[in-house]
Symmetry: C5
Subunit: 321 residues, 5 copies
């Protein structure tokens, strides 16, 4: 589905143009065309391939989707893939943005994504001074928007981790903690796999050996690169903390179990001594003088509760109870 097809001259929007006229505008100097597609069908992509003379392999990638974030040069044109993570009803879903870039055209192809890039176009059109830099600035603006959308996801991970940390030493929370930690680890891994290869892309674009086409926006790509480094450092931090937390959680379970075991041992001991004593005075020997005493029974109760009490006191002191 075609979203937009607009021509720009010297950083200023000329007009929404029909797809057939693209090739005319491509001939004009200082002019570039920016096309946005969403879930395109085969025919739309074929048309674009013809208009912009795109490389077969790049179009294949855009058609099939399921690429990893990357950047590839085909002659003096550039093909890039970026991933977006979108949060719907408690689940993350992955969507893909493909960008074809020439010195006088930008073609962005959005797959499955719910989030469009209209705001990016508006931002670019509001700053004709920067848009004058050409298509590489458009590419930067798209990438910047994609990267900015990682931050709230990362924040959600961090606050999820904070919540778990609050109760990691709480009794009885071990099962819930481990479930959440595992889920968090999976989400962090998902985010890592989206951002980490994109970081390589941004590094290439911000360095000296990036595509010629993007050289004049290098400072801007370095800014994006910086954001990605920050995100990556945070994810690594989160992942490492999760690993430690999983270990700590296991320790806590074992500690709790050992405390329960001590309690069990203590109470078992207390009852066992009572039962053993009662058993002894329940024996049927004929000649058990204390059984005949007037105060035999109360003394026995006293002895039993005395022994139990003594044990209780010992265990209490030892911290088992």
């Amino acid at each position: 589905m075609l979203i937009n097809c607009v021509a720009y001259e010297n950083g200023t929007r000329l007009a929404e143009i029909p797809v057939e006229d693209i090739s005319d505008y491509l001939l004009k100097p200082d002019c570039f065309v920016w096309v946005a597609l969403f879930n395109p069908d085969a025919q739309e992509l074929d048309q674009m391939q013809e208009e912009f003379n795109l490389h077969e392999l790049a179009v294949e990638d855009a058609r099939h989707g399921h690429q990893r974030p990357k950047i590839e040069e085909y002659g003096d044109s550039v093909f890039a893939v970026m991933h977006q993570l979108e949060f719907h009803e408690g689940e993350y879903s992955l969507s893909e943005i493909c960008v074809f870039l020439g010195h006088n055209y930008v073609l962005s192809v959005r797959h499955r994504s719910q989030q469009n890039f209209l705001a990016v176009r508006e931002r670019c059109e509001r700053e004709p001074g920067l848009l004058k830099q050409g298509t590489s600035f458009v590419f930067y603006a798209l990438m910047d928007a994609v990267v900015d959308r990682y931050f709230p996801i990362m924040d959600r991970l961090e606050s999820g981790l904070d919540k778990i940390e609050e109760q990691i030493f709480a009794k009885g929370a071990a099962r819930a903690n481990i479930v959440h930690l595992y889920g968090l680890k999976r989400k962090a891994t998902l985010l890592k796999h989206a951002t980490s290869p994109l970081m390589e892309v941004a590094m290439k674009l911000s360095g000296n050996r990036g595509p010629e086409l993007c050289a004049n926006s290098r400072h801007y790509f370095r800014d994006v690169f910086d954001h990605l480094i920050r995100i990556n450092a945070s994810i690594d931090n989160i992942r490492e903390t999760i690993d430690t937390a999983i270990q700590v959680n296991l320790s806590m379970v074992t500690i709790e179990e050992s405390e329960v075991n001590k309690k069990l041992a203590a109470w078992a001991g207390i009852f066992a001594i009572a039962t053993a004593l009662a058993g002894i005075w329940g024996m049927n020997f004929k000649n058990m003088p204390e059984l005949q005493w007037n105060y035999g029974y109360p003394s026995a109760l006293l002895a039993i509760s005395g022994a139990a009490g003594f044990l209780y006191w010992r265990f209490k002191r030892a911290g088992w109870l």
Copy 2:
């Protein structure tokens, strides 16, 4: 066993030729010969070595098999080894493909593999425009086919992991989970060892310092390289998730054990108090007034069940039962 021996000219199939005529066709310009062998005996390989003038060390490798995926240059010819994983009756088996490549010949040697490359030959012959690139395109097509066959294996691993994840927090599933996780880890390691060195091969072929012979198909090898990076990233992801899952599984066992322990402690306590009380009233002291009461027995039963009930309620509230 000789599977095929076909000559091509300018990307078009000329004819199936006898092995003896190979040297004639090698002399023609714009012409190359593509030979496919399966489990060749020593004599067949010797014949090929003579026809194509192959390097002794490369032929040795193809003869013995059991090489790891690699690419080697001998002068202006290239020798490559790739691994295939084949799934038969629940077990993975490894097979080897050796490829000898010169500017006017391709020799592929298949060891133990059940899967042939007839479809690759057909694909190449359907696209004479690309086959015109020469033997490097044939090499690309073979490699692409090998790599494409990794994807279903990877998918099977992923769905295996998904199945385990569904029941990783289920009670009583720990033993089955750990058995499956270990099996999965082994399979993922097997796949990793097939794809990871092949990735290095593809990187070499898609970069600037790869063999001269393959330079004109560089974009295509980059495509294969991309697939391999994706596969590798997925395997790493799977392996890492398995490691976390093994740890989580251990935590779950410990948590379950601690829950069982608590239950055990609780019931032991309840019965112990009943037994202790019954034991006390089973003592044979002469002077135990309550034994003579009319309602002594029901009161005792009440006391016993009261004590047991009280404990039950306490344990229930504490979450032990």
Copy 3:
């Protein structure tokens, strides 16, 4: 908020100057201006951007804060970000220092930090011989001060770890240990994330490929780099030791649990034999001759305590009690 705005000539302080006069001083040879801001508002930063002709992206970073430690060149000027960790009431908080550096100006912007850099200015003014090196020496002095403030934090971590190590093999300390170890790990990670990227900055500044502007203070930056390497090695050491300590702590819990289990088993056995024997002599068979013996009861007590004592001795010898 403007803290200072001072002009220097040949390493000597000229005068505190009003912001409006900055541009005049920038024109004089051998003269530079050093401005310090604290939590600046938008207007102050805009003014500085105008006076010093700072790059838009760098000013953006200084305005928003939340950057990671880094150094960036914009033409022949340099922009750097450093992190400080400050300890208030048991909690660490992160603050940010941004430095803009040109051949004739230094602008330092402090965010949220409680610790100012007046001592740095004093140190510089006390050593005009070194300050003559120009703005790069000021930059060094700022960085040196930031790095020096990491040492007491690191020392606090190390002494925290020492305290835990003293009682890591103590009985009953497992829960407290794991809580402290987890807290320590978190703090060490925080410090690591502040110092590790700063180390890259210092490496760049002390090497041959750092900014031209800082080349004449290279030996000094190497000194800072050295300190950072030392801090980093210590943190890595601390983190690794914490990981080992967490594992050891888990082992200790399990060992303690197993010792408790043995004690439990031993006492359970001792009482169980007493109870079983008492139960046997409490049976109501008519024909139990020993019940009629004169010394039946004492013999039974002797038998019971003998059996219990024998078990006790066995368990004692086996180290279970």
Copy 4:
């Protein structure tokens, strides 16, 4: 002890020569001398140092032994150390091979090794065409022999691991498994430490920046390098699998323990209810009507076994028994 001292010309064996004549042969063109020593005493090494003009530091290394695998250039001569693992009576022992290499001499010094290199000499003498390459081919042949001897050791490790894997999920095998896994890990580490630095040696020899002296045998060293990569990949695989197996084994122990705990809990419950009921009817209250019933006793037995049976059925259903 001198094993051999033979002169070669154009790849053909000339004669066994006395040590004193070595210098004469070294003067002839197209001629080289190949000397093999075993556990040499100080004097023999001194003599060799004089004859071949060896560098003091290299001779020191050969004298003392206990070097790690390495290759060093001294001017246009080369000194290399390799390790052999030998299996005697269930134990691995390490032996060392030092090789001194010049354009017209090879000196191999064997320390403590039981395995000689006579087969290598025979192989070389059978292939004069290859031996014509000069001393670097001799070096290759020695290295190839050393590397070939790693394969059976690796196979033994792999089959040892296979044996453990067969019973890793078997009940009661945990202790034997962990003992074997630890032993295997140690052996794998030993092998790793022998092959891993040798791999660096082979990489150097097979690349463009290796010693000039060995340049013409580069293809051959690449073959050795390949073998070493394969061995190393296998060892890494083994080591990683051992690590996973140790973790899995721990999980299995914990799972088994939890199963035992459940059984214990179940039987304890069954007996406890029987004992508690029997205790109740063993109380001495006067007014316990059921004691007087004709069928009181059978009813009680029925009640007791009914309760026990009910519990048994519950535990059976829950999988505890």
Copy 5:
């Protein structure tokens, strides 16, 4: 404290000279001065700085100590720091050696160290042929001595590990093992932190890009580098083995615990059945015919011991007892 101050000419000792005359000797060609200080006070260092014209930052480092091992070039002079580990009464302490190196002077400053370098001076003076190489040979000799002192420490670690391994599978040794393993890990980490940065120093000195001053002793530094690689490989090996041993130890504790649990379960079962049976025959039902039998009691004892014996046999067969 000044230890020595000696002038050398062409590798031969001239004379012990007073500090004031140093500058005279520095002017002579083929002459160098070698000064050794121990725990110098500020004044001594100032004097040396003046005599040898040392760089301020290097002197600062030597004054304060607490540097990590490193090498730094200041113009054509070199400053190096090395660490020594000394073993006193069961504890390791760290000491520091600073070396200042110019083409005609060596100044070594020893901090806190108990071990002097008189033997190094003697060794150098015994070999004038080598000492002729100049100050770089002195530097080599010092470094070689420092590195040689690491070997006994490493050996002590290895034999410590061997001792633990002997009893890692012994029953009841788990607590002692874990204490020793933790201590060993700490010591290995200490040694690692001393040798690992020194290895970088040695690598620099033995390579092509080391300081010009040390170029002619490159072969000698390569020898030291080799020793350090060996030490480092051994330490890594030790550390890795410790990690595995900690894991194995945890497994052993868990296995032992599970064995104890089984024993506990078995004996609890045996006594429980005896107690339950005795309890049943201790009930007070009127109509319990077996109580009246002449051989009731022996039959009951038989039944009880039969049941207990049967259980005992079952548990024995299952390996629980």
